[in-house]
Symmetry: D2
Subunit: 384 residues, 4 copies
């Protein structure tokens, strides 16, 4: 079974890499990958390097990301990919194509494949990001072009069925990232400090990831300043990751650069590998910012997450998440809570993750092996 | 109010041209048009000429159609448009963009505009074409990227609401093509015969339009031969229009060319203007083939339509349509019925069209004038 | 040695296919081909089929040709190719890329490869087509981006040296098409008549190929009509090939279709295979029109060529070519001469071809085997 | 006379902006500009802002630059532009298009226009950059597609004539940048210090601009370190500008960031406006690095230039340039010389610039007004 996965960003690749590893090792599959988007961008750290070390056959590298933070950039970059994907799919003639999420690749890949009558398996459909706007539109449009849906939650399945997708195309499998996390080897704080070049051996620290909110691009500088001021005033070390490539990310990066230049308790880590990253989370006091990691991954590590602002609001979450606004008092209170509120910390430790139990990869592989690759897979009925 | 309409094919342009004319004449609107796709193709008759005579400002001509009938062609052509549309929209900064239907432009335009936070009004959403497959996917994906929906039937509105579209973005306005038809001046058979260069002054004739069925590309030759054989054996003149640009159209064109070369009762008309075309329908015995014209336009002219094969099946239709298969006996029977079954012909003449009463343009213009162009228009909520 | 040849049109592929066959058979080379342009176009007969039968690995099929005869079409088609070629070359990492001639692929391929520091071997540089204008510009621009030059004539080498190209990058090898022709098996007129479906067993016939003259697009209809009228009045059968894809070709095609519909002595052959084509030439009374075939290939077959109009004027040619204008009297005189002027026919038969002796392939293969693939090949000096 | 200039980078825009200003003010011309490439890139400082303040009509903004420093990036970016330029030129139908230099836009613009039969005026043809390789290829290829050539030096004219360009298409006009410099208002060191935020009121300083050498990408870090170490050891302040976007620029930027973080005598200025920049040069002790500014602009300001490494070697230059290697001893000697060698400084002050006298704009405008816009301009003859 010839499968091509298309990956456009580290965040989405990391979620599925355990699945990709499994398929790569399994002789049933002829697995290869197409690398594009942020993976090949200098600005986003050329994360293609992480993929190259995996050993997968790279069916094509597609350089499409336009160097601009203007809104027009995303859709031009998207358009640039389409003839490239068509070229690749036409040459490779895969039995199935995998794509994930709600970013540009989700729609460009599913659309290209659907027009060419090649089946597409889409991951993470049926979700709704509050204030996601264009990303919600893209996620649903991608579902309309896809032939198999692998979703995280039962609720996502229901949403896809409302969209007119046939029930037998939809599989609730949990989040594959949990498999990844659960199986990541443990590392000591000592070695971790050495690896990242910043001392966290005996000290509390936060991990901060703030992505831009594209409907609030003009407020990104202020939002980031409030967060960093609150952290500095709370006297806690903080490790910061760069934001994703959405419009507004330059403002956030600028603030990070300014603050880390003057404060010794702040530290930027760029493109950390997964092993170090998961262990950073394991040992952290809390995640902070607005990364989906706080809802999806943190609960299975028993890690609190302080989610600031509108991003992620309204999504299903465990007991570990505190939702607050970009207000200094609220942020400092929350930091205090994750450091010292024993009852809260106990609750976080003992709660189940709503996003799955670490068996997602196994389930998906089984479904791929059983799926019938025939015209019925391609020709979709609309259920109303 | 600065409005740009994007048109990629004659069929869709003809449906909306009455609306475009109205906006062009009305000083409230700064109206212009972007011409692309089949309009600029030699193979499809360079129908941009018809648009140029309208006098609209042509904001850009976008040459994107790849010269192939392979499946890969449609999506490469689609991809070619995106950076071009982005360039145009970025320069023009329109208040609203209009696009229609379920072809490539529907998705490429709505997606481009949505990523650039420019409102899109989409026409003909919520419809379901049986066996439409990729066109259905595209129509729904386009709806997910659009901010205003102008639909033909109440049933289409219900479908869009199931898709999670907010009710106050959806307007049921009927089919604008009916406005067009109702207001087209009448022409005598004599003049008509002269104009088209084929004598139909005193004789019955059919109008045949058969588009390819992309899920049955291999059967197009046979299907077309059966139809033409049946017509010849029925001893009735027939005027034939070329098919659209879907995969399989070459086979149909080849058959048309072969048959018209040897039979004097068959006649091909290419790119006939609207005035002559509507009057051809007005005077015809019946439409035959699988054009949507039989369902949408024919009833308001009291014209029977013989719809052969799977295309158009399952769509809402009036009493004028006979659905049959590609079988010679069925086709000849149907031709006989439209020529001589008085009861049937009476019924056709006296039935209302389910697709509207000729007031669509008026309604749409009123809505455009009242719509609020603010952030609420751009930021869509999902209703579940 | 990993070699990729890029081919965009049948004319250029046919010239080099003997070389490609040789490399494909020789284990020294890892040979593959990229197919693009007119080869994948429906309008130009999908000649990719001829390439597929060769068995070469097809590294990519690149659909780029925009469906228009407007001037803008050629350069958009050219632009469409570049990111596709870059994708292919980046994946394949060839040691050398081959491209030929003066059409769009010549510049798009050589430019893409040169920017990626991959060596390019360009065939047929240094030539000058009178009135070629854009094609001359392209041929020379392609030479500036190429690292090895394989030219037909000593005079072409001199031209490239004037352009600042280093002498040791330039090889005079003759025209590879002559190898092809000389080695084509012989076929009887009887079988030939059967194969093409037109009786030439016992009769004189001309082979007519008229390509558009892009500086005289408005005159193409008249030119073609004069030629066909003259042929009909000369009472000689004529086999006609369709023109290439330059602007103006529609007009020529239209005239061909009109004349062949009414005259039984005219016959169109489309996309004839090489074997039949060469034998058609072998048995013809004369080539007529403005194809380069008359100068390049005809002399090695002892075949007269009547070259009408400005195309090909001023190029090196043998004694077999008659240069005349689009005047009926001149054309009829020339037809008379090639049918009955014994002295002239004797001269044609006994003259050498200025374009080579059939050993080109052998020479090129030897040079490829000896060329040093190092940085010196990439870094060009300008010789003034 | 409708003229469109295309600009892709600040360096080239600054050279021609005096000409553009003149045409914009002159009612004879309908002047507009197309902005693309590095101007629209975040990485290169969105210099489109400087163009917007000019007030020119911006006919289109074309976002094409792919976010990568891999070699493949330049040619993909180039390819992305072509259909966009075609769209613009087709809509605008200019009488003449202006493009300059040897970067991607030079070839993409001239090629697009030439295929569309629109005349192109190319500036700075005929030059040869030692080790320029791909840039030399591009400059000459652009000349082959251009119809008018405006060159700086008599020697460049001779080169173009060797390339087969017709003499009456070539105009030696000097370098327009000299016009710009000569006419820039004078500014005091005090105000200058305030404007740039770095105190140079009473102190010697160098201006350092080092661009990457694309044939030595691996050596960029070492080269930049040697230069900065030498400057620090020479105890002289230094103002540094970021390099251009060639491959290797990341390494240089990294070194700049590291050194300026630790040394107070180094200062980075990004995207300084022309007024401040020219006055920085006027008051500097010397230019240092490898910018063409040292050869082209510095002599008309009586400014010494220390040119380090292979870039610019072999180009015509005045007495103000010292050519040295990336050796600390040589660099320190040169810095010493430009600070204290009175005889050398006297010579620099009193020498003429080989690049013109500040009358270029006037000459070019006159030629544009006199040029005949007819078919002879489009149809080029090759002079051999």
């Amino acid at each position: 079974m010839k499968i091509i996965a298309v990956t456009g960003a580290r965040s989405e690749f990391d979620l599925l890499s355990t699945l990709y590893d499994k398929m790569y090792e399994d002789d049933f599959f002829d697995f290869s990958i197409v690398v594009t988007g942020a993976h090949l961008s200098d600005t986003f750290g050329k994360t293609v390097k992480n993929i190259e070390t995996k050993g997968y056959r790279i069916a094509d590298r597609i350089y499409n990301l336009v160097d601009t933070s203007e809104k027009i950039g995303r859709v031009i970059s998207l358009g640039n990919q389409i003839s490239s994907f068509a070229q690749t799919f036409d040459r490779e003639q895969p039995d199935l194509i995998i794509v994930a999420g709600d970013r540009e690749e989700a729609i460009s890949v599913s659309m290209t494949a659907a027009y060419m009558d090649i089946p597409v398996a889409h991951f993470f459909g049926g979700d709704i990001a509050k204030d996601g706007n264009i990303d919600n539109s893209t996620r649903y449009a991608a579902s309309k072009y896809s032939h198999l849906h692998f979703v995280t939650l039962e609720q996502h399945k229901e949403t896809l069925m409302k969209l007119g997708e046939e029930e037998d195309r939809i599989y609730v499998v949990g989040n594959p990232a949990i498999d990844n996390i659960v199986s990541t080897p443990t590392m000591s704080r000592k070695i971790l400090s050495k690896n990242i070049g910043f001392d966290i051996e005996n000290e509390d620290y936060l991990v901060l990831i703030k992505h831009p909110i594209i409907t609030e691009t003009k407020d990104q500088r202020r939002q980031m300043e409030v967060i960093l001021d609150s952290i500095i005033e709370s006297n806690i070390k903080c490790l910061i990751n760069y934001p994703n490539s959405d419009a507004g990310n330059r403002e956030i990066i600028d603030v990070i650069d300014e603050y880390t230049a003057k404060s010794e308790s702040l530290f930027v880590f760029k493109n950390l590998d997964r092993l170090n990253y998961v262990n950073l989370l394991r040992n952290a006091t809390s995640l902070i910012g607005n990364s989906s990691s706080g809802l999806l991954e943190a609960p299975s590590l028993g890690l609190p997450a302080i989610n600031i602002g509108s991003r992620q609001r309204g999504r299903i979450h465990g007991n570990n998440v505190l939702f607050i606004d970009h207000e200094k008092a609220e942020i400092k209170d929350a930091i205090n809570k994750v450091r010292s509120d024993k009852k809260f910390l106990e609750l976080v430790k003992n709660s189940d993750s709503p996003y799955g139990n670490g068996k997602t990869t196994e389930k998906v592989v089984k479904i791929f092996k059983e799926v019938k690759l025939d015209d019925n897979l391609i020709y979709k009925n609309i259920t109303y």
